[in-house]
Amino acid sequence: MADKIKVLMCCVGPETHNRGILTVSSMLRDAGMEVVYLGNASAEETIKAAIEEDVKVIGVSSLSGGHLGIGKILMGMAKEKGLEKRIGFLMGGVIPPLDIPKLKEMGFNDVYPSGATRDQIINGIKKAIVA
């Protein structure tokens, strides 16, 4: 029996909306994953926590339009530490369709705009680990 998949869930920066991160965290827990709930944190704090907790995946929730800005900063720091090969990076929230390829180009394994299903997210996480 494989170890529980450990996922860090966060909102990078001052994101006020938490319905998304709470719902998805609960879904992951229901699916048998271990959720490290970081909540609001800077990109630096997020990377630090991910390393300390030795997570397999970082899930970022962005519901206020700052996804490209924070995505760039987060992936920049991740690459500095060589993390992008070891950890899966996923982003979810209110994200315009034309920004999704941009996020993937930055290094995000997958992006989940509103309407993404439980199955899509869980399968996406599993894929991000194997990759």
């Binding site: 994101e15 319905r19 206020s64 369709p97 309407g115």
Partner: protein, 583 residues
């Protein structure tokens, strides 16, 4: 044993003489006919499922009869239960002539980028006929981080307008007459209201506009700061509440035409809960405010006259109309019987509404125009005072110029083309609406009683009771949407992928760079001694009991303290509160 609000009201009403509209003879005859009709004409499957519960996003699980008749509300007493408009118990409206006298204020939210970007959009909407301004700040400003704080990186100017210091307000309102326009400043929290609103007052000072000419509102809501929002750090709810009351007191004393709180309401419901819970929490909160202001030695009418509410009309059309009526009647009863209010104005449940954002979806975004239109119509039929209609691109980004114009046009079409504003409370007297109004009032009272059992509103926030309740609601709702119990067209029913190539509004790319440069210059040129002294004085005031901190944040605004600097003082003074966790 302290009486519950429900008990107080029940006792007061028990003593009143009722004159039912329907005679017992008429009701008897009707009942006979009705039973006959039901068994002969109504299909067995409908007889067995006489009551159904509509499944909607943010629904209240209120059962509905197949057909409503006088038998649904046999004891109806027109004067006691609804009265005429502008008359106790105010179910039919807060003014006798409602929209014939003053139409609902059409105020669409605006906020993105640099202050001048938002300034342009405000002018555009005012030029297109909007009758109010409605401002939203970016995430860093709302959460009280300066643009140069590490937490703000990458997010300056997204989701709202960036404000770091008082001078940004001058840029924001350049060419707009704040003595003329009614300005809703969505300062979500008591903490950021205490910091931002004084900057607006300083703007008035610098442009020679006396404060008594300013019209508008602030949000200033503990529910937002301690219950609804996500944050890296919270101050304790009781200190949060103290700041809220300091804001109320100061504004009431110094800015007489200003609405000092717009009770949530909206964001709580959008977080994920029913219209009933939304109102129970808002009313419990209002009562906590009144209790505290009485403790501070103020008159209940003095506060009551300027209390205002902020609701989220969602998709259950008749529920939305009925609950505004129920809220008006219940608030009146609370003010009259529990608080012995003397001024008619302080018994009025005045409200701004914003159509529900969470009811809008990503798939086939133009469908959202229809959703928002129905929600807006319900709000107007329910008698709200002010309205923002969400735009159809809500699930993608803040509205583009085109979509925000369309939202404004939705309001204008309701006002000028449908004829609904010619008649006050047009659905009053409907067997359905009156029965539903009654039911909702009772359900709100049920939940107010629950909150009272927790020790009142502040305690229910501090101990996690309300947070847990809402979390359970929305996680359950998520499952209902997943399994199709709640149908959303094109989203989970008739699933569609249209909208996948949608071009959303693009934020101005230079906002962060420009605001950072301005902030740097500001920090370099301001009098740092005065800044330090003002922040120190604010810290002392926060730590002192029975001191109103707003004069101190006002001084901070005058000498050029930033938003972030003042939030740090609050955290230092009050300490960090560990909010009960859910996951």
């Amino acid at each position: 044993m302290k009486k519950t609000t429900r008990e107080i009201i029940q006792e007061a009403l028990a003593g009143k003489k009722r004159t039912p509209l329907y005679s017992s003879e008429a009701l008897g005859k009707l009942k006979q006919e009705f039973e006959g009709w039901k068994s002969a004409k109504v299909q067995p499957k409908d007889q067995d499922n006489w009551n159904v519960i509509p499944q909607t996003v943010l629904g209240s699980e209120l059962p509905r009869e197949l057909l409503y008749t006088p038998l649904s509300n046999p004891d109806f007493d027109y004067m006691e239960d609804v009265g005429n408009s502008g008359q106790e118990p105010f179910a039919r409206g807060i003014h006798p002539n409602m929209y014939r006298g003053r139409t609902f204020t059409q105020r669409q939210l605006v906020g993105f980028g640099k202050p001048e970007d938002t300034n342009a959009r405000i002018k555009f909407l005012l030029g297109a006929g909007a009758t109010g301004v409605n401002l939203l700040f970016d995430m860093p400003t709302i959460q009280m981080y300066d643009s140069d704080d590490p937490m703000s990186a990458g997010q300056v100017g997204s989701c709202g307008v960036c404000i770091d210091q008082a001078k940004d307000w001058e840029r924001l309102f350049a060419g707009i007459d704040i003595a003329k326009e009614t300005v809703s400043i969505v300062t979500h929290y008591p903490s950021n209201c205490c910091i931002l609103f004084p900057m607006y007052l300083v703007l008035a000072e610098r442009t020679n506009i006396p404060w008594d000419q300013l019209k508008g509102s602030v949000q200033n809501d503990v529910t937002m700061e301690s219950l609804v929002r996500n944050a890296a750090a919270y101050i304790p709810p009781r200190d949060n509440f103290r700041i809220e009351c300091d804001n109320i007191e100061f504004i009431r004393q110094n800015v007489p035409k200003w609405n000092f709180v717009t009770l949530n309401g909206y964001n709580l419901r959008e977080f994920g809960t029913s219209g009933v819970t939304e109102m129970a929490v808002a009313f419990s909160h209002a009562m906590a405010i009144l209790d505290e202001m009485i403790r501070r030695g103020h008159d209940v009418d003095w506060v009551g006259e300027r209390l205002a509410y902020f609701w989220s009309p969602a998709m259950d059309f008749f529920e939305e109309i009925s609950r505004l009526r129920a809220a008006r009647r219940l608030w009146y009863r609370i003010m009259k019987y529990k608080y012995n209010a003397k001024s008619p104005r302080s018994m009025l449940m005045r409200c701004h509404v914003q159509t529900s954002g969470i009811s809008l979806v990503r798939e086939e975004p133009l469908n959202n125009i229809i959703r928002s239109a129905y929600e807006a119509l319900a709000a107007v039929l329910g008698g709200s005072q002010s309205l923002h209609v969400d735009s159809y691109d809500e699930a993608y980004a803040v509205p583009s110029e085109e979509s925000s114009l369309l939202s404004l046009r939705t309001q204008q079409i309701i006002e000028h083309e449908t004829g609904v504003t010619s008649v006050v409370d047009p659905l009053g007297g409907s067997y359905y609406v009156e029965a539903l109004t009654n039911e909702i009032e009772q359900r709100i009272l049920d939940e107010i009683t629950e909150i009272e059992k927790q020790g009142g509103y502040i305690e229910a926030v501090a101990n996690g009771y309300l947070l847990n309740k809402i979390y359970n609601y929305f996680y359950n709702e998520q499952k209902k949407i997943e399994n199709g119990d709640i149908k959303i067209v094109a989203h989970n029913w008739q699933k569609s992928t249209r909208g996948e190539d949608f071009e959303a509004f693009k934020y101005p790319e230079d906002a962060e760079e420009v605001q950072l440069a301005r902030l740097k210059e500001h920090r370099a040129t301001r009098d740092s001694q005065k800044v330090e002294a003002a922040l120190k004085a604010l810290l002392e005031a926060c730590k002192s009991k029975d001191v109103n901190i707003v004069p101190y944040t006002l001084e901070c605004a005058r000498v050029g303290c930033t938003v972030g600097e003042q939030w740090k003082v609050f955290k230092e003074a009050f300490g960090i509160w560990a909010r009960p966790s859910l996951v």
